[in-house]
């Protein structure tokens, strides 16, 4: 696969381009928010509260008169940070566990790892998050840890499944004949060949992370005030929904579009990495 061929195929994939553009818009918003926001997100302006979209406030203001556009921009920062770190935790811990389980398939180690994963899977993710925040207190950091833990079995299972089929390949046998041990083979031969899958799953877990953060903040267990968060903006707006619907619509749209963008991107990447689908070209 040449670089230009890969890029060419990427640009031909409609879902990938649309997903990447949507994702890029929100990443850009988060980056720009560090340098500049239209209004200070903590500045209250009671006389102008619950204003609909207008010149000075393109997306209107909330019940304290804060600028919704600015809050969404800073909220993107929170969402992305939580999701990135949570996916990172899942990958850094889950992938080696999956590789180890596959390398020692059928052994006690494999059983312990996979049954441990089943245990984590068996709890609803939100319940784990609520448990953690209930014990350690509500904060963005605890939300990250909670969402990250739930990501571990996802990556461990994915890695193990893909690695098992790779272990039967002749090049792994050749590496064994060359005297390489299981750890070395896992990192030199198995890991590079599961990266595609991990990137695709990472994108999808990223979107789930954003949803989970929004859900935690919605119930008040995520990022704490005054740090803006999309989930809490939704929670704040629900009592005002009939008088100021824009307060719910815009953060809701932000969540929807980011998650949609990431999912489209994940789908597009999966198609791109799968040569069978790519050849058909869509």
């Amino acid at each position: 696969m040449t670089e230009t061929g890969f890029l060419g195929a990427a640009l031909r994939s409609r879902s990938l381009v649309l997903g990447a553009v949507l994702t890029a818009v929100f990443v850009l918003a988060a980056v720009v928010s560090f340098l500049w926001v239209p209004h200070d997100v903590t500045a209250m302006d009671i006389p102008n509260r619950m204003k609909g979209p207008e010149g000075a406030h393109p997306l209107g203001t909330d019940h304290f008169g804060r600028d919704i556009l600015s809050m969404i921009m800073v909220g993107a920062r929170t969402s992305i940070a939580v999701a990135v770190v949570a996916v990172g935790i899942g990958m850094v811990l889950g992938v080696p566990l999956g590789l180890a389980a596959a390398a020692r398939k059928g052994s006690l180690l494999d059983e312990v790892i996979m049954r441990g994963n089943d245990l984590v899977f068996a709890f609803p993710s939100l319940l784990i998050a609520i448990m953690i925040t209930a014990v350690f207190g509500a904060s963005a950091l605890n939300a990250i840890i909670a969402i990250g833990i739930f990501n571990i079995p996802v990556f461990a299972r994915l890695t193990r499944g893909a690695a098992l089929s790779l272990w039967t390949r002749d090049y792994v046998m050749a590496a064994r004949v060359a005297g390489k041990g299981a750890t070395r083979i896992s990192f030199e031969h198995i890991l590079p060949n599961v990266t595609n899958l991990l990137i695709v799953q990472g994108t999808i877990q990223f979107s789930l992370g954003i949803l989970a953060e929004a859900a935690l903040s919605y119930v008040g267990l995520g990022a704490q005030p005054p740090l803006p968060s999309w989930g809490r903006m939704l929670a704040d707006s629900q009592t005002m929904i009939s008088i100021a619907p824009h307060m719910a619509i815009f953060p809701g749209l932000a969540i929807l579009l980011t998650v949609l963008g990431l999912n489209l991107m994940g789908d597009g990447l999966r198609d791109l990495f799968d040569p069978k689908i790519r050849r058909v070209g869509r």
Partner: protein
């Protein structure tokens, strides 16, 4: 009038010319062998007849099947013809059947799609089709699932599906390539019987000249999407007008030149080796059951010798290979290389391991697709205590690549830039780089086209002479073993049943199993004698 007539068929896929002016005809009751190497367009010719072509394909020319112009028919009419007028058998019986449907349901499906009959009647006719494919009711009821059958039996089910509606034409695309020799002989006999009984035309696609030699009435030889020679089998073998036909014929029976060397010092000694596998427990507290894959195998290979190991799938060849390479421990017996055990104290002995290497069958699966050729070839350096680095390493990689006929610069390329034959050369370079004494060739040429196979066999013979290599040549292909080995062993169900000098074993086999194997192997006619 011919049953199938292809005239001046051109096929482009995404603008690339795949077939160029292909013409051939099949008469009722006739077997036409279509022969070519990979990429010759032989399968695409078959798919053009069925009009089952990939996206972006453009056909020009004429394909007439029993009076129907296949190229201009709309899809619904084509669907009525497929399965009804023309049946197809594929190479891989393992994937051609749906694993969650019974064989009866799968054969009956073809009938139910094309004819307005009751399910019971379709099942009755499926029974009859299986019967005709020599799968008797007593042993193979309709309720069997594909996983309960062997490869050859599955291929019979696939054939039963294809002939259930008694089509006028049967297209078989490499129907026996994935099968063992004895099974291959049975399937070919079955196909011939069906042609005789039904007066159906058979288009038999294969890369193996010997398979069609004593079976086809006519043969068509294809290369690069063109027909280079066609005619009655006897005449084609007699005349061989086209140089490619001669080249193909010579490559099929190619005999590499090998030098004799003194062989009295034993290099590898295998004594009474037993290898058991634990079977899954059927009940929670049932005693552990074992499957004995290798049962008391003993043999020796002398330095510089080339020993062949022949046997059908499941006979324990691969298990024995892994034991010799020290990848798995054996339950009894010992394996010594130059007097030293390959396994000491439950750990593989690295001093022994670095003196042997292996070349696998599949030129596509043998390399990590994300590595460049340089590191791939250098991988066995891991076995050395003091592997070369920097310039010495580069020089060793260059030397290994050059000794197999590739360029030193090839180390900067990725593996997908090479053809199957070149990849097998790279696999040999990887085996050579640590200068081993013993190389195990595990079906190393089985996946290659005949002309490439001849080149690789020459290379192996040349390398053996240059570096004093010892080969253990494992294969199911008797003709290849015959050309490159000094001695041969025949393995059946985990045991060596016959052993002796190659020529002697092939000319005067003693054991019944060896006789069956040799009788089943298709042979090429002598040049001009056909």
């Amino acid at each position: 009038m011919s049953l199938l007539e292809i005239e001046g068929l051109d096929l482009d896929i995404h603008g690339e010319a795949i077939l160029k002016g292909v013409s051939l005809a099949v008469q009722p009751g006739q077997i036409v062998g279509v022969i070519g190497e990979s990429g010759s367009g032989k399968s695409m010719t078959a798919f053009s007849v069925m009009q089952l072509l990939p996206d972006g394909a453009m056909c020009r020319g004429r394909v007439t099947l029993g009076g129907h112009e296949m190229l201009s028919l709309p899809e619904p009419s084509l669907c009525r013809l497929r399965g009804n007028e023309v049946g197809m058998v594929f190479q891989e019986p393992m994937t051609a059947l749906n694993p969650i449907q019974t064989i009866g349901a799968q054969v009956a499906e073809t009938i139910l799609i094309h004819e307005d009959v009751s399910r019971a009647e379709a099942m009755a006719r499926a029974r009859e089709a299986l019967e005709r494919c020599e799968l008797p009711e007593a042993k193979f009821p309709l309720s069997r699932y594909p996983h309960e059958l062997s490869g050859g039996q599955r291929q019979r089910v696939v054939i039963a599906m294809a002939i259930a509606l008694r089509p006028k034409l049967l297209i078989a695309d490499e129907p026996t390539t994935a099968l063992d020799v004895t099974t291959q002989a049975q399937i070919l006999r079955l196909l011939r019987r069906l042609v005789d009984e039904d007066g159906m035309g058979l288009m038999l696609i294969t890369h193996d000249l010997a398979v069609v030699a004593d079976m086809a009435h006519e043969i068509v030889i294809m290369r690069h999407g063109e027909v280079v020679e066609a005619g009655p089998t006897g005449r084609v073998f007699d005349e061989m007008r086209h140089p490619y036909t001669r080249a193909l014929f010579e490559a099929s029976g190619h005999q590499p030149e090998r030098e004799e060397s003194p062989r009295d010092v034993p290099l590898l000694q295998v004594r009474d080796v037993v290898r058991d596998y634990a079977l899954p427990r059927t009940r929670l507290f049932a005693p552990q059951e074992h499957f004995r894959a290798v049962n008391g195998v003993s043999f020796e290979i002398a330095k510089g010798e080339s020993l062949g190991l022949v046997g059908e799938s499941g006979c324990g060849k691969s298990t024995l290979t892994r034991a010799i390479l020290g990848l798995e421990e054996v339950q009894a017996g010992e394996i010594l290389l130059d007097g030293e055990p390959v396994f000491t104290g439950h750990r593989p002995n690295r001093d022994v391991r670095r003196r042997m290497q292996v070349v696998f069958q599949d030129p596509f699966g043998s390399f990590n697709p994300r590595w460049k050729v340089g590191p791939l070839v250098a991988e066995p350096f891991h076995l050395l205590r003091d592997p070369p680095t920097g310039a010495a390493r580069d020089a060793a990689i260059a030397e290994a690549l050059e000794s197999v006929g590739l360029a030193a610069e090839d180390r900067h390329k990725y593996i997908h830039e090479f053809s199957g034959g070149q990849r097998q050369r790279i696999a040999i370079a990887r085996a050579l780089i640590i200068k081993p004494e013993l190389i195990i060739l595990d079906e190393a040429v089985s996946a290659l086209d005949v002309s490439i196979r001849a080149q690789i066999l020459d290379l192996l013979a040349d390398l053996s002479a240059r570096f004093g290599l010892t080969y253990l040549f494992i294969s199911h292909d008797l003709s290849v073993v015959r050309t490159i080995t000094d001695r041969v062993m025949v393995m059946q169900a985990g045991e060596i049943v016959e052993e002796g000098p190659t020529a002697l074993v092939f000319d005067a086999p003693q054991h019944d199993y060896t006789k069956t194997l040799i009788a089943a192997a298709p042979v090429l006619p002598e040049r001009g004698a056909a």
